[in-house]
């Protein structure tokens, strides 16, 4: 299965690519895809994706995900050929 992932700023400054194809044998949810990307791109990328509590445990997300033309939820499944875009949540107008 192939998934095309698009990176906008500031993610693309870490990935050094505007997009890439992720190949996977098993079906993934959005949350699982994010875990794979964090593993690939490391701690700073993780801090852009997750919100941590005082004990450095993940307690939420800082990113909004678009799947094809619609906003996705973390438990949504990704299908072969889907396009996923990572968007930083803009807070404050």
């Amino acid at each position: 299965m192939e998934i095309k992932v698009h990176y906008l700023s500031p993610f693309m400054e870490i990935t050094e690519a505007k997009n890439e194809i992720i190949k996977t044998k098993k079906e993934l949810t959005i949350a699982e895809l994010l875990e794979q990307l964090v593993e690939r791109y490391g701690e700073r990328f993780a801090k852009f994706i997750y919100r941590y509590d005082a004990n450095k445990q993940i307690e939420g997300y800082r990113v909004i995900i678009k799947k094809n033309d619609y906003l996705a939820k973390k438990d949504d499944f990704i299908k072969d050929g889907d396009q996923i875009t990572l968007i930083t949540a803009i807070i404050g107008g």
Binding site: S9, R62, V63, K66, D75, I87, G93
Partner: protein, 636 residues
């Protein structure tokens, strides 16, 4: 000196008599009102009497910093300007970054309170303890860069910080802005016209003192910590890399980039106007407000004939790009950047300018503005030249520009009922580039906020979802608000969510803190802000006290509006918000009128206001604003 952070000195200037004096409000005053928006609202309300309009000589205009302003902390550079707005008739507080606030503090003042009207154009010169009114006749009519150079030469002070109006303010354009250092704007609400009506071209300030702080060591430690936190913050990194223009692509991708006078949320040429495109083409360099390492001000330059861009005027930011670009369906970057520079030179709020251009284009398209009325300007969406011509016409109040210079509400009223349906505004102020149909809490915000559709009056819905990206910002938890809400619901819970967010952003405007660094999702966390307040002022501030400070702001503004006859009937949204998006990822999304009305009523209840949105006596007394309760009772 026993006070820390503040100077306990407020400059009082009467332009009619030429008198200049000082007030020393005292420690209790500062703890209650602090500075910025609240200090300004206090003096405006004290001076204001029923019937005084925005452009009357008796109107007051206040330039106020806060106890935090001018300390070397990223995000603490701002100041507020408060007055009656010629655009809305409401009170308006408008905040700007840059250098004016810090310099005013270093000159030894917390605020300047101005009343009256000078017989001839003047500017106010503040050089530490030497304060005088000087003739501005030789710079009246000049664009902002020329005026700034003229003032610095006159004062023999190359480093004087000048906050000023351009020709638009002199010509009383209802959405004229105030600008410091040519590129930092008190943009919204037309306060530049208030200065113009007083024949006040500018305030120039130069100070040699240092802001006295309570605990230098703690302050240094906190400032040092910013760098480490900042590098892991995605929002501030985005701003650092691309400025607010970096938001353009995100908004368009998410289907919420207001386009074609808010008919849709996607713009096919958005990529041309993106932060990335600016960086690749006309980017000059990144600049900063006072002491800020985020450096989100991207200046631009270009030498193409007819599209020359002077980096002294800064560069297009997200709000201006959207209003001058997608709102009008103009996708040519050089045209948008040039239009933005013209607004900056002439002292026009770029958001209002783009909004009124888009409104005029739709009116023209629908035959509500006739070709002969447009006097040769082909006001069709996407016409680059029309936008440039319209900006000049508005600045000079010529032809169709004279009608539009009075603002979107007054222009629509003169044009009739059909035009009023197309006018996207609340209380006379046009919309910033955040569409309530995509961020529904903005629907409530735009409807009920006393100054009109302020896009940084709270922090909106992004990231909120009970079954998806449950991202209740930490700062809300600290205030005792824990529940998640769907970003798409407009309901009673959302009224409370908005209320808490509104109080947080309100205390930012009172302490004159930059929202970008300190909003939930920014680099400074609430605990940092409390420690910084302690380090600077010595005050043991709490989250509760910040909340009350925010409530004090909103209630003071609201009382002014009630006294000035602006009531619940103006807490509404324009017809376009009840029409669905025509295309894009959010196609079909709209505000449900009944849900909005219920949520507004719920908001009044959360705020402690009556069903007409009037602050209750008990609430005002709780906030230490009993004097306003008496004025409400007497209706004066």
């Amino acid at each position: 000196m026993s006070s820390f952070g503040y100077n306990n000195r407020i400059l009082m200037v009467n332009l009619s008599s030429g008198e200049i004096g000082l007030e020393h409000p005292g420690d209790a005053f500062y703890r209650r009102y602090v500075g910025g928006a609240n200090l300004g609202a206090y003096y405006l309300l004290k001076n204001w009497k029923k019937g005084i309009g925005a452009l009357d000589p008796e109107n007051t205009i206040v330039f106020a910093a806060s106890p935090l302003t001018g300390t070397p902390v990223p995000g603490f550079s701002r100041h507020s300007v408060v007055s009656v707005s010629p655009l809305t008739g409401t009170i308006v507080d408008s905040e700007a970054g840059g250098y004016f606030g810090p310099e005013l503090k270093k000159a030894g003042y917390d605020a300047v309170v101005i009343t009256g009207k000078a017989k001839k154009p003047v500017y106010l010169a503040i050089l530490d303890d030497k304060v005088e009114l000087k003739s501005a006749e030789n710079i009246w009519g000049r664009v902002t860069k020329e005026a700034e150079m003229g003032i610095r030469k006159d004062l023999k002070e190359d480093k004087a910080i000048v906050t000023q109006i351009g020709p638009a303010g002199e010509n009383l354009v209802s959405f004229a802005c105030i600008v410091n250092n040519l590129k930092h704007f008190n943009g919204r609400g037309g306060l530049g016209a208030v200065m113009g009506s007083k024949n006040l071209k500018a305030i120039a300030v130069r100070g040699s003192k240092k802001v006295n702080v309570f605990n230098e060591e703690l302050l240094r430690e906190k400032v040092k910590s910013f760098a480490g936190k900042f590098k892991d913050n995605p929002f501030n990194n985005l701003l650092n890399r691309l400025g607010t223009a970096g938001v353009t692509t995100l908004q368009n991708t998410d289907g919420q980039l207001p386009t074609k006078n808010f008919q849709t949320g996607v713009f096919s040429k958005a990529e041309n106007l993106s932060g990335e495109k600016i960086h690749e083409t006309i980017f000059h360099r990144a600049e900063a407000c006072y002491a800020c390492s985020v450096r989100c001000k991207m200046t631009v330059s270009n030498e193409t004939e007819g599209f020359e861009l002077d980096p002294a005027y800064g560069g297009p930011e997200y709000e201006g790009i959207s209003a001058l670009g997608p709102y009008t369906e103009i996708g040519d970057l050089l045209t948008v950047a040039k239009a933005n520079e013209m607004c900056n030179k002439y002292g026009l709020d770029a958001v209002s300018m783009g909004s009124i251009a888009a409104f005029a284009m739709e009116c023209y398209e629908k035959g509500l503005i006739k070709k002969e009325e447009a006097e040769g300007i082909e006001l069709v969406f996407g016409n680059n030249e029309a936008l440039i011509q319209l900006i000049k016409a508005v600045k000079e109040r010529k032809g169709i520009g004279n009608l539009l210079a009075d603002g979107i509400r007054k222009a629509a009223e003169k044009m009739g009922k059909e035009a009023e349906k197309l006018a996207v505004h609340v209380k006379g102020m046009d919309f910033a580039a955040h569409d309530p149909r995509a961020k529904v809490s903005f629907g409530l915000a735009y409807a009920v906020q006393p100054i009109g559709p302020d896009h940084i009056g709270h922090f909106g819905d992004p990231g909120l979802s009970p079954d998806g990206f449950d991202n209740v910002p930490d700062q809300l938890n600290s205030f005792g608000f824990y529940d998640t809400h769907s970003p798409d619901d407009l309901d009673l819970g959302k009224a409370a969510f908005f209320y808490y967010g509104q109080m947080i952003n309100s205390f930012h405007d009172v302490f004159d803190i930059c929202t970008f660094t300190s909003v939930p999702g920014g680099t400074w966390e609430l605990s940092d802000i409390l420690e910084l307040i302690k380090a600077i002022t010595g005050w043991n501030y709490s989250a509760w006290e910040l909340m009350k400070l925010g409530e004090r702001r909103v209630n003071m503004l609201k009382v002014f509006n009630v006294l000035n006859g602006i009531g619940a009937e103006e807490d509404r949204l324009p017809p376009r918000m009840f029409e669905p998006f025509q295309s894009g990822p959010r196609k079909g999304a709209k505000i449900e009128k009944e849900a909005l009305e219920k949520t507004i009523k719920a908001y009044y209840q959360v705020a402690g206001w009556d069903s007409s949105g009037v602050p209750g006596k008990a609430k005002l007394i709780e906030l230490g604003l009993g004097w306003l309760s008496e004025r409400l009772e007497k209706k004066e």
